[in-house]
């Protein structure tokens, strides 16, 4: 990728990150932190490429470790975030149902 194009992407992505979470209620801080933790689990993709192109046993070992950790980040991050948000959801339905009565 052209160096400058990459720089533009980085700049725009940084502003997007700021803008996207600029107005978050405190109540969602933990799930959001957990959710962003899940999103950087995309490192798994890079780990897979690194392992896939590994030649020597050393590269294979480190690549294996990278995929192992990356998969842990992605899957664990998802499960934990999903569990937190599931509680909010059911609670919301319950109260809105109550209100409707």
């Amino acid at each position: 990728m052209e160096g400058f194009v990459a720089l533009y992407i980085i700049m725009l992505a940084a502003f997007t990150g700021y803008a996207v979470i600029s107005r978050v209620p405190v109540i969602l801080h933990t799930p959001l932190m957990s959710g962003s933790n899940f999103v950087h689990g995309v490192v798994l993709v890079g780990a897979m490429v690194a392992l896939g192109q590994a030649q020597t046993p050393f590269e294979q070992a480190i690549g294996f470790l990278a995929v192992l950790l990356g998969a842990g980040n992605a899957v664990g991050g998802y499960v934990v975030t999903e569990r937190m948000l599931a509680m909010f959801k059911s609670e919301k339905n319950r109260t809105s149902a109550k209100k409707g009565q």
């Binding site: 959710g35 950087h40 897979m48 991050g77």
Partner: protein, 457 residues
């Protein structure tokens, strides 16, 4: 050619889904949809990567995926809600470690990609390793494996020297291109994470986890640049920026600039007596406390880490319902950094089915304490410490606190007589209108429920 188009357009969709997902997660209405979008993005990204040209080692890859994903899936499922903060720290550490491992391969291969790529790979390695070891320490501390907060003599000088050594070793590793040089560099980077995180404790912990999360995002972004992978680049940088903002918001809520969090840790010494503490701690029985609550018009509950430790949230909800039955108005006041993570208390109360509309932020409720009959503090300490308002020598001076002490009566449920997690004495406990109720939060609230039922029969 077509394969590349499919891969690239898939990554484009992935980046879009991630941003949409994060956006969704910032509102309670769309939060669940948000994580589903992001999850779909992750699945797509993983699947399409199998088709990346020139790849091998598929057997190893699938084993690693199943092993890493399986263990995390299982541990994420079984962990108790109260232990969530350390799980987030742990999973975050894994991400950092993964980014560092990718960088290790790229740097060890030593192909000349050009200076920019090498520098970013090394930067990603440095940040990723630091985030990895730092997160492991954060996990160990919150899990209680590592109990003591250690202070090295001349901590800040040690930090600076180590950081400089790490950078020198990075340059040496790149220039020399030897495996040994690389190993030294990674060793220093890992040590740096440990040394920076180990003296940090108490109320600063959530800020540090958030910071480490942002750092991992950055490391992932840099490795995305190295691997020429736009999905990684965008997701990583977005998380890096969002995480930095979250970290700043949290540090601001505590009125502790990030610099102080990292370089002026709250010391663990209990200052004997403390400045201007008068009076004694007065104990109260559960029955008296129950009567006080029963005949109050308005009660505000201030939960803290003690509620999480005691798993008391369900009992508290039960008690709240009892009180409401007899017409007592009950509200919850949540300090931004109560617990070990922002929103920690909200998550626990939501788990126990406490309705949203009873839960209030610091700004929303702080004026109401003066018109409240009883404030019930459950396992919170530093966030209701009036020394933050008045005592300039206090390490938490200037932090906004909940005005619990301004209520007519304050009942404090506390495990023991010790000082708070930050190690500072709390004058509130000695105040004329305060009564102490010692014990594990769940047990004590259980007793309160029993006594309330008696009073109501």
């Amino acid at each position: 050619m077509t394969r590349e188009v499919v891969i690239n357009s898939s990554y484009f969709v992935v980046a879009f889904l991630f941003i949409l997902g994060l956006k969704g997660m910032s509102s309670p209405v769309t939060a669940r949809r948000g994580i589903t979008w992001a999850g779909a993005g992750m699945v797509l990204a993983t699947l399409v990567t199998f088709a990346w040209p020139g790849m091998g080692n598929y057997g190893l890859m699938i084993i690693a995926l199943i092993l890493g994903g399986g263990i995390s899936w299982w541990s994420g499922r079984v962990v108790r809600m109260t232990d969530m903060p350390q799980m987030v720290a742990l999973f975050n550490g894994m991400g950092g470690g993964s980014a560092a491992a990718i960088a290790a391969i790229e740097l060890a291969r030593g192909e000349t990609h050009g200076t920019a790529v090498t520098v970013l790979a090394a930067l990603g390695a440095l940040i990723g390793s630091t985030a990895f070891s730092g997160s492991c320490i954060a996990f160990a501390k919150l899990q209680g494996i590592l109990r003591k907060t250690m202070h090295l003599p001349g901590q800040n000088a040690v930090n600076v020297i180590l950081a400089v050594l790490t950078i020198i070793s990075a340059i040496h590793a790149i220039v020399s291109g030897t495996a040994a040089g690389l190993a030294v560099f990674f060793g220093f980077a890992l040590l740096l994470g440990v040394i920076i995180t180990i003296p940090i404790g108490g109320a600063d912990m959530p800020v540090v986890i958030s910071l480490l999360n942002a750092l991992t995002g950055l490391a992932v972004g840099f490795e995305g640049y190295v691997l020429n992978n736009p999905a990684m680049m965008i997701a990583g940088v977005v998380v890096g920026a969002a995480g930095s903002l979250l970290t700043r918001l949290m540090a601001k809520a505590m009125n502790r600039p990030l610099f102080n969090v990292l370089f002026k840790p709250i010391t663990g010494e209990v200052r004997a007596g403390g400045a201007g503490i008068t009076g004694t701690m007065k104990e109260i029985s559960a029955l008296d406390a129950a009567a006080m609550l029963r005949y109050a018009r308005k009660v505000i509950i201030v939960p803290g880490y003690g509620m999480a430790v005691g798993q008391a949230q369900h009992k508290i909800r039960e008690m709240t319902e009892l009180l409401e039955e007899v017409g007592v108005e009950v509200k919850f006041a949540i300090h931004p950094v109560a617990g070990r993570m922002p929103g920690h208390m909200n998550v626990l109360l939501a788990e126990a089915d406490v309705p949203y509309e009873k839960i209030f932020d610091l700004e929303e409720i702080n004026e109401e304490f003066s018109q409240t009959d009883v404030t019930l503090v459950i396992g919170a300490n530093d966030v209701v410490n009036p020394a933050a308002r008045t005592d300039k020598s206090s390490p938490i001076y200037g932090m906004p606190i909940l005005n619990a002490d301004r209520a007519q009566n304050v009942i404090v449920i506390k495990r023991g007589k010790g000082a708070g997690y930050s190690g500072t004495e709390n004058p509130l406990f000695y105040a004329e209108n305060a009564r102490m109720l010692y014990g594990n939060a769940q047990t004590v609230v259980g007793e309160l429920i029993k006594d309330l039922k008696e009073l109501m029969s």
